[in-house]
Symmetry: C2
C-alpha cells in the first residue's frame, strides 16, 4: 500500500507552488517535495530529481531546479530524500560514518528503486501531473541511485545523469561500479550524461567508461572543466532543454 | 587592399537574404556567401562558418546553418570556400589528389587565416553586420583551418569547433596536429567542442587531447555516438544557442 499525505503548508513563490509530502510505503516513510506551476492548466510533465550525497530533497540545487522547471516550462518537479539523508537523517556530510555504512547495505540500491517507484505511483495520481511524461534528473549520488532506477522504470522517458563513473575514490567507498555494470546497459531512453573534466571523486576514464556502458542508442556527453562540485555556466539550462525535448 | 563585390543575384527565401560575394585580397579572389535576415533592423552579430573537407561555401550544411542563424536569431552568417574547394576548385571528394596536395603546402593554414581576416574586414564594413559581435562555427576541416584562425583573430568572441584532433588517419594525411599544438593553447574565447564518439577519421583519444589543449578557461565538450559524418539530433540547435549566449 502506498499513501501520500501533505505534511506542511504550501509555499508560494513567484508562481511556483511548493508542497512537502510523505509517502507511506511498505512500512516506511519517504519524505519529498513537489513543485508545480500556479499558472499551469491541466496535467503537466514531471521531473523526478535525485539529490547528491550529503544533500537533501530541498537543498539549494533542488530548489533551483524545481523553480526552473515550473517557472520556465510550467512543468512539475519532485525530489525525495535519499536513505539516511534529509528527513531520513543523519547524514549532512559525505564523511559521516552513516554515509559509508549506507553503501554497505546490500539492498540500498534496490530499496531506493522501490522508493522512487512508489513516489511516481503516488504523484501520478495527482491532477497536476501527467504520468505519461516523466523524466529524471540526478547527478553524483543522484546517478548512483538514479541510474539503476531509470534502468528499472519503464515510465521514465529521458534522463540527465552523470558526475559518476566506474572508478575513483567515491567508487571505492560505495562499490557502485557493480550496480552500474548491471544497470547501465539496461538504460535505453535518451540520456544526457554530464561530467566534470577534472573530477577528483570519479576518475575521468571511469566516467567515459560509464557513458560507454549506457545502453541508450540516443545519448550525449557534456563535459566541462572543473572539479566534482563545479558546473558549466549554461549546464542546467541545457539539461532542462534536453528534458523538454525528450520527455 | 581588400575589395568586396557582389557576384550574383540576391536569393530571397523565407525571410533569408542570400548574396554571393567575391573578395579581392592580396592578388587572389576569395569566393563567399553572406546570409542576412530580411526582418533585421540595424547591424546584427555575424557567424563565420568554415565548411568541411570536400564541401564548399554553399553546401547543404552551410545553407542549413545560414538559414538557421538568420531565421532563428535574425543574425548574419557567412561562408567562404576553402583552398582548392568550391569556386577555388577542383576538390569535391577528400580522396582527390589536390586535397592531399593542399595539406603539403607549408603556408596553407596561414593563407586561410589571412583569407578569413580579409573576409571579416570586408563584411564588417556592411551596414547589416555588427563587427563587434562575431562568432565562428566550423568542424572537421572547418576546425583544421578555423582553430588556427580563431586563435589568431581577436575579433572572434566564441567558437564552435570539433570533429578533429591530434591523431587518426586525417591527421596523418594533413599533419594538422603540428598546427593544433601551436594554436590550440592560444584559443582563449569560450568554445563548444563537438565530437563523434566513434569517429573513424580522428581518434577519440586525440580529440580529447585537442580539447585538453584548448587554452579557453570556458570550454565544453559535447560528444554524440556515431561516425565522423553523423550528428547528434539536437547538435546544431545547441551549438547555435551556445553562440547566441557568448557572441
Amino acid at each position: 500500500m502506498t499513501h501520500l499525505s501533505w505534511t506542511q503548508d504550501v509555499i508560494l513563490d513567484h508562481g511556483t507552488c511548493e508542497r512537502a509530502f510523505a509517502i507511506e510505503h511498505d512500512g516506511h516513510t519517504i519524505p519529498g517535495v513537489l513543485w508545480t506551476s500556479s499558472a499551469a492548466t491541466g496535467p503537466q510533465p514531471l521531473v523526478l530529481m535525485g539529490h547528491g550525497g550529503s544533500g537533501h530533497k530541498r537543498n539549494e540545487r533542488m530548489l533551483m531546479l524545481g523553480h526552473m522547471f515550473t517557472r520556465d516550462y510550467g512543468w512539475c518537479a519532485a525530489a525525495i530524500d535519499g536513505p539516511v539523508h534529509g528527513g531520513r537523517g543523519p547524514v549532512e556530510d559525505a564523511n559521516h560514518p552513516a554515509y559509508r555504512a549506507m553503501w554497505q547495505r546490500q539492498d540500498v540500491v534496490h530499496s531506493m528503486i522501490e522508493d522512487w517507484r512508489a513516489t511516481l505511483d503516488a504523484l501520478s495520481q495527482l491532477a497536476e501531473v501527467d504520468g505519461s511524461r516523466v523524466g529524471y534528473w540526478g547527478v553524483s549520488m543522484g546517478t548512483m541511485f538514479g541510474l539503476p532506477y531509470v534502468a528499472s522504470e519503464p515510465r521514465i522517458r529521458a534522463a540527465v545523469l552523470g558526475k559518476a563513473g566506474m572508478s575513483g575514490p567515491s567508487v571505492v567507498r560505495s562499490g557502485i561500479d557493480r550496480h552500474f555494470a548491471i544497470f547501465a546497459p539496461k538504460v535505453l531512453v535518451p540520456v544526457l550524461f554530464v561530467m566534470q573534466w577534472d573530477d577528483e571523486r570519479f576518475e575521468r576514464s571511469g566516467q567515459l567508461e560509464l557513458f560507454d556502458l549506457l545502453g541508450s542508442p540516443d545519448k550525449r556527453l557534456h563535459a566541462y572543466p572543473g572539479l566534482h562540485i563545479d558546473n558549466g555556466p549554461e549546464a542546467f539550462e541545457v539539461q532542462a532543454a534536453f528534458l523538454k525535448r525528450y520527455v
